[in-house]
Every structure is written in structure tokens, then in C-alpha cells.
């Protein structure tokens, strides 16, 4: 199942995710207008773009929450739509919504999701994650009683419950306090060092630049820029970003 993607400069055996000619329209509005992208295992891609550029739509398609209007997403030679159920077991997502139940305790939340993902010993997995996000001492507190920062740390732990092969982050830094932001950054670095593939969408340049290995800019439903981070420096990227926004 090999298809020629227009910018397939790095199709090799370790390609993890292939997006080709992806389009999504609502009625006659086009949110995504032909996205092509290859991701290798262990890559950390950060996509920037203004509101309405189609960032969230792209992420939702990758998360199997939306179906593309046309085009395909392939994960390790499997079509995403056809094998959505298998794929979901290896997927994690952090969104600006916390995805946790207000009326369950911290531990119950994690245990529930761990069970849903078929994690063998859901309780020890939950405790292990609470350790990592510094919430162990709050384990029996209802999520509703947590401060906003703690809720955010809980939602990060929730997304990692199945040790996802692909982690999707939709504006994860929005409204995060310093502590939660540093927890998130540490967790991302940990995952990255363990060869997990990460796709983050944000308009926060500083946060995006600090941990990504690859940078992209999405404007008006098109990927207008895509580059390895090691090839450019941060200040140059800022200029490029604003130039792309201006052009769009």
C-alpha cells in the first residue's frame, strides 16, 4: 500500500503516520484543503496557526473523532478509518477540555480510563501516573474539588494512562499554570525520549518551540510550512511564522 505523496522526501521504513490529500469540509466550507504529511516514529511535531486555520479539525481527524471528507490517514500501513478501534487503544489526547469526571475521585478517574484501555493492573498504573504528575496525596479527592492546575495535571495523567504510541495535544498550554506546564513539558520529554510520536497544536510559539523536533504552520486549511527544528533557529522561525500569517 504505497502511495506517492507530493512531498515524500522522507518515506522510509520507520514512517509511523502518513497523511495524504486530507480534506475536510463542513457544508461548502473547507476546513482542511489538502494536507500531506509523513511522521516518523518518535517525532514531535508542533503545528502553529491562527484560530480557524484547521488545527483542531486536523487533530480531531487524527483522534478519529471526525471523518475526513476525502484523503487518507495511514498508521503503519493501516487505514485509520478502517481500523479506528484498534488504533484508539494506542492513542492519547490532551485537549483544552479536561476529559475527567467531576464526580469521581482522582484515583477513580484514572482507574476507570485504565480499565477502559484494558490496562492489566489499573490501580497500580493509576498510582504510578499520579506519582509522575505530583497528585498522589490528592488521590481520593473528587476531581471537582481540585484546583484548576491540579485538574490539568490529572488530565495529562489521564491521557497517558495507556502509554500511547501517538499522543495528540490540542492547545494544551492554554490556561495552564506554571507547575502544570512544567509537568506537561517533563512528561512530553519523557515520552519523546521513549520514541513516542507526538503531535501538538498550539498558537503559543515559545511552548511549541521548546520541545518539538519538527515545526509546521497551518493556514487556511493548508500546511504552508514544514521544517525540522534543528535546521532553523527560534528567532528565525518567529519571523517566518508572522510572514506566513501575513501572506495568508
Amino acid at each position: 500500500m504505497n502511495q506517492a505523496t507530493p512531498e515524500s522526501n522522507k518515506v522510509d521504513s520507520s514512517v509511523f503516520l502518513t497523511i495524504s490529500e486530507l480534506r475536510k469540509s463542513y457544508g461548502s466550507r473547507e476546513a482542511l484543503r489538502g494536507i500531506n504529511l509523513d511522521l516518523k516514529r518518535g517525532e514531535f511535531l508542533c503545528l502553529f496557526g491562527p484560530n480557524g486555520a484547521g488545527k483542531s479539525t486536523l487533530l480531531k481527524i487524527l483522534a478519529t473523532l471526525l471523518r475526513p471528507s476525502s484523503g487518507t490517514v495511514q498508521v503503519l500501513d493501516y487505514d485509520l478509518e478502517e481500523h479506528a478501534e484498534k488504533f484508539r487503544a494506542n492513542l492519547g489526547m490532551v485537549s483544552h477540555q479536561s476529559f475527567v469526571y467531576q464526580d469521581l475521585t482522582v484515583l477513580e478517574n484514572l482507574e476507570f480510563f485504565a480499565a477502559l484501555y484494558g490496562v492489566q493492573d489499573s490501580q497500580s498504573r493509576a498510582l504510578e501516573l499520579l506519582e509522575e504528575v505530583n497528585l498522589v496525596d490528592r488521590y481520593d479527592m473528587p476531581a471537582a474539588n481540585l484546583s484548576r492546575g491540579m485538574q490539568q495535571r490529572l488530565s495529562i495523567a489521564r491521557a497517558l494512562v495507556n502509554d500511547p504510541a501517538l499522543l495528540l495535544l490540542d492547545e494544551p498550554y492554554t490556561g495552564l499554570d506554571e507547575h502544570a506546564a512544567s509537568v506537561l513539558r517533563d512528561q512530553l520529554q519523557k515520552l519523546h525520549s521513549r520514541k513516542r510520536t507526538i503531535v501538538m497544536v498550539t498558537h503559543n510559539l515559545r511552548r511549541g518551540l521548546e520541545s518539538a523536533t519538527r515545526l509546521g504552520i497551518l493556514a487556511h486549511g493548508k500546511l504552508t510550512y514544514l521544517q525540522e527544528k534543528k535546521d532553523i533557529d527560534a528567532t528565525a522561525f518567529e519571523e517566518i511564522y508572522f510572514k506566513h500569517l501575513g501572506a495568508a
Binding site: Y26, G27, S28, S69
Partner: protein, 224 residues
């Protein structure tokens, strides 16, 4: 646009047939012996009921097609047919009541057909309320498609359950014979034809209006 041309074709046919049908109802069809002139409402009542049911069937098919293809045109078809179906069912209920008052001595009775029509009216009117309550196009289309399918599946159950009440509704058209004199039958057929042409014209008109409305919305509120 071909769509508008074809819709005006059917509208024109309806404009021709409708007066003919009315003329035949009053001057051609004989006066019914026991019921008198009230019976003439039947020539509109039955075609209206048939077209209303047709609307709900079209909505059902459009609902399935929308969920399968996600194409906006199916949503427009669904919306148009549900709207027309609700209006026609309202007319069925009104014409039926007008007829029922002198004949049954009551505007309303819990007869299976009346009950079924009323419940259908509620089901599809609720679908219209739902349409007005959801702004996101994709969501609105999906929800209405689901409701149109569920509503149509409910129809036979509603009719079956309504048989709990004893029927006093006249059964004019049976599978084996038609309980009508031939001039009455011809009048009925012409009225039916007129109503169907009217239905199709109205339907085509509403579908194209729905699509134009969506396009206009798109121009007024671009997503970016």
C-alpha cells in the same frame, strides 16, 4: 439553474391542475347522498394525507442517505420534506375535523387514523423544533436524519397501537375494491394528481431554497 426550472414546471402543472380539480369537485362529482356537500372535503383530505405520508417517507430515505454520504443536498431534501409533511399533516387534521364535526358530531375522536396522524404531527414537528435549536450545520443534519429515521420506524407501531381504540374512520380504498362511484373516483384521481404536482413543486422549491440559504450563510459568515 435547472432545479428552479423544473420546480417551476411542477408549480405550473399544479397551478393548472388545482383549479381543474376544484372545478371537478364542485361541478362534476355528484353530491354524496347521506353526507351532502361536506363529503367534498374528502377530495382534498385523502390526497393531503397521501402526500404527507410521502413526505415522511422521503425524509426517511433522505435521512439514511445523509448518514451514508454526508452530502448537504440530502439534508436539504430531508428538511424540505419534513417541513411540507408537517404542514400537510396539519391540513389533514384540519380538513378531517371539519368533516368530522357534522358527520361524527365531534371535531376530534380517538380513532386509529386520527391518533396516528396526530402522533406523526408531534414527531415531525419536534424534528422541526430540533432543527431550529442546533446551529452547527453538520450536527443539525445528523440529528435530524436520526430523528427522521426513528420517526418513520415508529409509524407502523403508532398505527398498530392506535388500534387499541375502535375505528369509526371510513375505509374508502380497500385492497379488493374501491367504495366510490366512477365520477367520484375520477375527481379523486385528478385531485390526487394536482396535489402531487403541488407537492413536488413545493418540495423542489424548498430544497433549492435550503441550498441557497446555506450558500448565502457561507458568504455572510466565512469560517476564518
Amino acid at each position: 439553474m435547472t432545479l428552479t426550472n423544473r420546480s417551476s414546471l411542477f408549480a405550473g402543472a399544479a397551478a393548472l391542475l388545482m383549479p381543474v380539480a376544484i372545478g371537478m369537485i364542485f361541478f362534476y362529482a355528484p353530491l354524496e347522498k347521506t353526507m351532502g356537500s361536506v363529503q367534498k372535503i374528502f377530495y382534498f383530505h385523502l390526497p393531503l394525507a397521501f402526500s404527507a405520508f410521502l413526505s415522511f417517507f422521503v425524509a426517511f430515505v433522505a435521512g439514511i442517505m445523509y448518514l451514508r454520504t454526508r452530502r448537504q443536498v440530502w439534508d436539504a431534501r430531508l428538511a424540505a420534506s419534513v417541513e411540507i409533511g408537517v404542514v400537510f399533516t396539519t391540513l389533514v387534521l384540519i380538513t378531517g375535523s371539519l368533516w368530522g364535526k357534522p358527520i361524527w358530531n365531534t371535531y376530534w375522536t380517538w380513532d386509529p387514523r386520527l391518533t396516528t396522524s396526530l402522533i406523526l404531527w408531534f414527531i415531525y414537528a419536534s424534528c422541526l423544533i430540533l432543527r431550529s435549536a442546533v446551529e452547527e450545520e453538520g450536527k443539525r443534519a445528523t440529528y435530524c436524519a436520526v430523528m427522521a429515521i426513528v420517526g418513520f420506524v415508529d409509524v407502523p407501531i403508532v398505527f398498530f397501537s392506535a388500534r387499541l381504540w375502535r375505528s369509526i374512520h371510513p375505509v374508502v380504498i380497500r385492497s379488493d375494491s374501491v367504495g366510490l362511484e366512477s365520477s367520484m373516483l375520477i375527481t379523486l384521481l385528478v385531485s390526487m394528481l394536482a396535489m402531487l404536482a403541488f407537492w413536488i413543486g413545493l418540495y423542489k422549491f424548498r430544497v433549492s431554497l435550503q441550498l441557497q440559504e446555506a450558500a448565502a450563510n457561507e458568504l455572510l459568515n466565512p469560517k476564518d
